[in-house]
Point group: C2
């Protein structure tokens, strides 16, 4: 299987080249990005000419902080969670572990980071990196138990890239200057706008000061500032999305079960399936111009993002039936 599909999701161009163009449009289920994006991008006027004003960054961080339910002084916007994870890892340094299975980048944040099973997370020493909900299996961890079991001077880094659909599970509110807790949030997944490249580090202020010295005065594009600020202020859209996503996930579950596949996961933005036929299933779906997400080190796994609508779900249903 081509390494392009198993590295990260979202390599649709490569899939088109490999499997051939088709009359049918491709359905990209290879990511956990909301297929029903926040709809306001078309009406925003983006000022590409000027350097962003200093106040625009503060406005975005204030809007995001309100959305996350945290104080703005603990929020630093970054041009994508990906770079935020990597820079914070370099800033903290030292011994670290990352929970597996998990998101690949977590293992690249710290030199020599040790992979650790979820069940052993509470016993880990040094910095611990964990995603909640986890990717790709959508598992939601009881972080309170993990935190209670670990020494308070060890950093806990929680990647909440997929938490926006279930904000009650977030530990972002517990970030403070006297606690070694950092939370990462991602704009692109829940709002369905991954091309904007916008993420947030929620951390003690001294760490954010260091991070800002690495980023400089204009870390974000005019578009990320305008789109992010407007979207995070749109609490009505967010509430509707939170109501809609579980319905879409349940409809996906029904289709998967109909084809004897057992959906795994508690995050409504994607589902994992475990089957000895995962490789063949990936190929069959790709020939039907549906891209899913296989995993090189877990050949029995296949992850499905949400189909955008009933038509896409019906095409998935038909492709799962054929074969």
């Amino acid at each position: 299987m081509n390494d392009l599909w198993t590295w990260h999701g979202g390599a649709l161009d490569a899939a088109k080249r490999h499997f051939g163009e088709s009359d049918a449009a491709w359905i990209d289920l290879s990511t956990g990005i909301n297929p029903m994006p926040w709809p306001g991008t078309e009406t925003l006027r983006i000022d590409w000419h000027c350097l962003p004003e200093p106040g625009a960054l503060a406005d975005l961080e204030a809007a995001a902080a309100t959305f996350f339910g945290v104080e703005a002084r603990h929020v630093c916007a970054v041009p994508g969670t990906e770079i935020g994870l990597r820079l914070v890892g370099r800033l903290i340094g030292g011994d670290a572990s990352h929970v597996v299975p998990g998101y690949r980048t977590h293992g690249a944040m710290f030199a020599g980071s040790g992979a650790i099973a979820r069940d052993a997370a509470a016993d880990s020493g040094g910095t611990l990196v964990v995603a909640n909900p986890n990717n790709p299996d959508g598992h939601i961890l009881d972080l309170h138990a993990v935190r209670a079991a670990r020494p308070p001077h060890d950093w806990l880094l929680v990647d909440e890239a997929f938490a926006d659909a279930q904000p009650a599970m977030s530990v972002a509110r517990e970030v403070s200057n006297d606690r070694r807790l950092i939370v990462f949030r991602s704009f692109g997944k829940f709002f369905g706008l991954a091309g904007v490249r916008l993420g947030f580090v929620i951390a003690p202020q001294p760490l954010l000061s260091e991070l800002r010295a690495w980023l400089g005065a204009w870390p974000l594009s005019a578009a990320a500032l305008a789109i992010g600020t407007a979207a995070y202020r749109d609490h009505e859209w967010a509430a509707a999305a939170r109501a809609r996503l579980p319905v879409s996930a349940a409809a996906l579950d029904d289709v998967l079960k109909r084809h004897d596949l057992t959906p795994i996961g508690d995050c409504p933005l994607f589902r994992l399936v475990e089957t000895p036929h995962a490789g063949a299933l990936f190929e069959r779906l790709a020939r039907a111009t549906i891209l899913t997400r296989p995993f090189a080190d877990r050949p029995h796994w296949l992850r499905f993002g949400l189909p955008a609508d009933a038509a896409a779900l019906a095409r998935l249903d038909a492709a799962l039936a054929g074969g």
Copy 2:
């Protein structure tokens, strides 16, 4: 004088609040950003939904490399030169000097960086950071003399943020894997699109591998990828801009000289003026809704960006005449 004007240019919102809104639109001459931007942004379709495809980054870097006249393997795109400068400084570390007067960020790249006069640059030990053309005085340095005088194992970092108008002066072509030379290029100044946040590090490949590990797979927004690629391929526009900018700069020179101000600098994107009345001149122009760039540590200096057109130049002329 308010610190907002002297920190960096481009704080127009703050100027409006401080000096009051006016019927006349503000003319922002506080930056060196081309006031006649590359015009293609309106017609590009930006895909905000998907994660950028891996090939899009490679396409941008290839287009930029051709534009710079270098090999693509030496080019790494970053979300703004500002973050590129700061991350490369952290990657290299060690003893460093930065030439003053210069760009403020150069002194923040390395911990304990020593300020050094331009005339002493050749004698500096350790890493040397220099801008060429320099900002804010537009001075063009003979880098060959500087390089010949310094030990070859010491890094030389050249910020060519304003070099696109005079590409023959660039040393980017001399970057290679066996030379400790790094060149920084900026998209926003010459193309007049600073809100895109796009810059480039041109460096030996081993250093770029480390930098890419800090940035991750998606360092750039979909807009930066689409706009940057199309603009760097538009060699016709670039040639026309290179012909037009010196004409605009000469027209600005004429107006400054008419008011007994002596324009300094060899970069056609801005001019520096030295006068004991710089502070009063800044205030007078701001009351006429024209924002220029003062400097806290050089109270006799005022920098002027290019007026966008004849009407803006005429307003500057009138404001300089008024007293």
